[in-house]
Amino acid sequence: MHIVDGALSAPVLAGGALLAIVGIFIGLKKMDYDQLPLVGVLASVFFIASYIHLPLGFSSVHLIMNGLLGILLGWVAFPALLVALLLQVIFFGFGGLLVLGVNTLNIALPAVFMYYLCYRGIRHDSAKVAAIWGAIGGAGAIVITSIMVAFSLALSGESFVLAAKAVLPAHIPIMVVEAFVSYSAVYLIHSVKPDAIHRDLIS
């Protein structure tokens, strides 16, 4: 998921960084100072989620949960994910510094897509229907993320095309797991604290 430094070509790095900056700018505009604690806390939930490793056969996958975060935060997912990824690069060495723009874009843009796609569905009165939209959001974000990762690899050179083709199938297990986890997470929130979903957290 994290692309490392040195792999992508300069135009892809620059383009990704530019688009990510636009996204972050929109996110920061939409975020009020009053929402800082909420966004900060949700960013740390995202940070923690990526350390929850679920066993899958002989190996394990970690949750990404950008779909659900996007559904809750909308455009503000951009700055929230940027700071989380930045800390992960510097203190844990996941990913790279110059590809930070591309990585942020690849994870945050699908999150924003899911915000618009699931906006109505997630607010449905029936918990089951809302949870299904949550599952769509969770899995859909991973689908778009892996397509975008594949694209950023393929655009960087002929030799990466094979690796790019492998990205999508490699993410299918995470897609399935994420769909189920998002389903139950939304189902629980709908039953326990429906207010958290019905109200716009970021207006």
């Binding site: 430094d5 923690i48 809750l72 700071v83 929130i189 604290k193």
Partner: protein
């Protein structure tokens, strides 16, 4: 193994990487951040093998100078290198060029291998310099350095909030995991696990949204008006000047080697 990973990483609360104090710690945080970023820029855009190798050896020198725990640092880097190994295996076959050897009718090219090695060396060099220059300060110092470097203040506040509440949320997560373990929950590849983890995550979200409300209430009570004070004064000392001068000379050398390589 996944258990070990989970444990070691969720207990990070924004502190610097463990290391003995060294002269790198005396340097100004801004200088360290800018130097590391410039280093990444130069090394990643390098085309010459010599320049990247020189960058990597410089990275080792900085790691030594910052007195990082070599074993721990290498373990972090190796985790990434295992990932790079797949790249080294794949790239020779997908890059056209002079044949190195043939396997099942596919020919591996020297160009592909060089490319893969170049990427690995670059990624390693950048990470090592980041670890030794930036990760040796605490995450909040890093945030303050960014603020002094004119990064938008909302972004810096967000970073500081993330650092502060990472530990709190991870405590919350661990508490719930422990409660599940007490009820004999073991993770497996089944629907039950995914449903339970989904509930865990949903509960984590609810608790953090409620916590955020309490934090905002507490901040409002103390008259928060959208401004935090950066209470550390950062001063450029002669040591910073010497280090910056040395560092820029080195980067110019790397750029020179690259230009020379391109002209040939």
């Amino acid at each position: 193994m996944s258990q070990g990973l989970e444990h070691s990483l969720t207990s990070w609360s924004g502190q610097a990487l463990k290391h003995q104090s060294s002269w790198i710690d005396e340097l100004d945080a801004r200088v360290r951040v800018v130097c590391a970023a410039l280093f990444a820029l130069v090394v990643v855009s390098s085309v010459s093998f010599v320049a990247v190798l020189l960058g990597l050896s410089f990275a080792f020198f900085v790691v030594k100078a910052s007195k990082l725990n070599i074993k721990r640092t290498l373990r972090r880097v190796v985790a990434m290198d295992l990932f790079m190994l797949t790249l080294i295996c794949v790239l020779p076959f997908t890059t056209p060029g002079d044949t190195m050897f043939t396997l099942f009718g596919l020919s591996a090219s020297w160009q592909g291998l060089t490319h893969a090695l170049l990427i690995t060396l670059k990624a390693n060099a950048v990470l090592l310099v980041l670890f030794s220059l930036v990760a040796t300060m605490s995450a909040s110092t890093f945030g303050h350095a960014l603020a002094h470097l004119k990064v938008p203040d909302k972004l810096v506040h967000l970073l500081l909030f993330l650092v502060r509440y990472l530990d709190v949320i991870s405590q919350e997560y661990k508490k719930m995991r422990r409660a599940m373990q007490a009820r004999a929950f073991v993770m497996g590849t089944n629907f039950h696990t995914w449903k339970s983890i989904g509930y865990l995550f949903g509960m984590l979200l609810i608790r953090s949204i409620e916590r955020a409300e309490r934090i905002l209430g507490a901040m409002k009570c103390r008259g928060f008006c959208g401004r935090f004070y950066l209470n550390d004064e950062m001063k450029i000392t002669p040591l910073d000047r010497r280090f910056s001068a040395f560092f820029s000379c080195f980067l110019i050398l790397l750029i020179g080697i690259n230009v020379d390589d391109l002209l040939q």
